[in-house]
Amino acid sequence: MNLYTFSSPVNFYHLSGKLIPWFTGLAILFTAVGLYISFFVAPTDFQQGEAYRIIFIHVPAAWMSMFIYLVMAFWGAIGLAFNTRMSFMMARALAPTGALFTFLALWTGAWWGKPMWGAWWVWDARLTSELILLFLYVGIIALWAAIDDVKRGDRAGALLTLIGAINIPIIYFSVKWWNTLHQGASINLMKAPTMAKTMLIGMLVMAFAAWFYTLAVAFMRVRGIILERERQSEWVKAILEKD
């Protein structure tokens, strides 16, 4: 057994099968603790009232949305460079969760913005780049959906993820600059008042919950992809006959 053991689909299938219950359990545990902290322990914000509590969902979702894209780009690059099948499967398994978190970040952002700014949506730099990130996810998923050939789809998706990853910082700074020049909303998110320690802890716990949730569902999805792609092999037939 070495580093490459789990780059083979059959080994990874069994490993992820063993890991999923743990990750699911940890995700539930962290969500429960995180929600308890966010609703009962964290103090009411003196400026924003109770409505600020949505950031316990919003911020971890926004973190995950960006982090998952980077992980996808990483697996895409590894797959293109070393021609490893598992990397592409991981990228495919992560994309729907990434799009989900992006959507969640936008949605909870709107819910947070309405009581704070009095508007569901402002063309703030972060909101706009998050929206463009959602477009990138949708584009990648649409490309995979349009290509029937597995090998071509994997590589095309990886290339698109990569060029998107190169472009994301440029998009972010261009949007940020565009926003400051246009003088749209006069609210500066960067100057948020320093956070109470319990708030930060609550947010970190929720971030771990999002992390373990992502691992659990991505592994479930990747097991489905493995079974679909390796359906000709003996070990899959053995598994399917057993169940």
């Binding site: 477009f135 090998k151 071509r152 095309a156 290339l159 990569l162 472009n167 020049l181």
Partner: protein, 222 residues
């Protein structure tokens, strides 16, 4: 290498010269999309001058996408694309030549039409001049990045719409810097910063996009 690039360029330009209708469509699309906006938002000259740069830039990106879906499709259809990729010459140069030809066929006429539309939108002369410079720097970005999308969606059903979905988010910086330069001139803050960034983005696209597009082309043809 230079001869190969020139040969690709000459071939695409000859093909475009023989089929004028193909590339005129994109130009008329540009004119029509831009002309629809005054009908939609009303003819007040101040407002038109306010939205003009953005509208013209958005129309230019959409027009480029319209013509990009055919960048590799025709050669793929008759099989000549595979031979060009199989040839000992580097695929990067093939992609670069085709992007360059696309820019000459689509970007240059656009540059010639844009001032007329600028007058329609009541833009002052210095703004029109900046619009020209920003389009001169920006339209190569559209051709270069668009080549990646055209290579990725080669031969797919609904490829044209899919191309739009994939590439439009990547066009955002070009749109912001391009339209921002013209806005800057009109607001009196100057256009130099925007134009410098647009130029930098163009150079970056020139260095990266042909390689990714060449890889995508090989993936699509496998």
């Amino acid at each position: 290498m230079g001869r190969f690039l020139l040969a690709v360029l000459r071939r695409d330009l000859t093909l475009a010269a023989r089929r004028r209708g193909d590339w005129l469509i994109a130009q008329f699309f540009f004119v029509m999309t831009a002309s629809l906006f005054p009908l939609g938002v009303g003819p007040e000259p101040e407002m038109l001058a306010r939205i003009g740069p953005g509208v013209l830039w958005v129309a230019a990106t959409l027009a480029s996408l319209l013509s990009l879906s055919r960048l590799f499709a025709d050669d793929h259809h008759d099989g000549s694309l595979e031979h060009m990729v199989l040839s000992p010459e580097p695929t990067v140069l093939l992609v670069l030549g085709k992007s360059l030809a696309h820019w000459l066929i689509y970007g240059i006429p656009l540059l010639l039409i844009a001032p007329v539309l600028g007058i329609q939108f009541n833009l002052p002369w210095d703004a029109i001049l900046t619009l020209e410079i920003s389009l001169l720097l920006g339209t190569p970005i559209l051709s270069l990045l668009g080549a990646v999308g055209a290579a990725l969606t080669l031969g797919l059903r609904g490829g044209g719409v899919l191309l739009t979905l994939l590439i439009l988010p990547l066009y955002v910086p070009a749109l912001i810097f391009g339209a921002g330069a013209v806005d800057g001139v009109m607001a009196g803050t100057g256009a130099q910063a925007h134009l410098s960034l647009l130029g930098a983005f163009m150079v970056l696209s020139l260095m990266i996009a042909p390689w990714i597009a060449a890889a995508a082309l090989r993936v699509s043809l496998e």
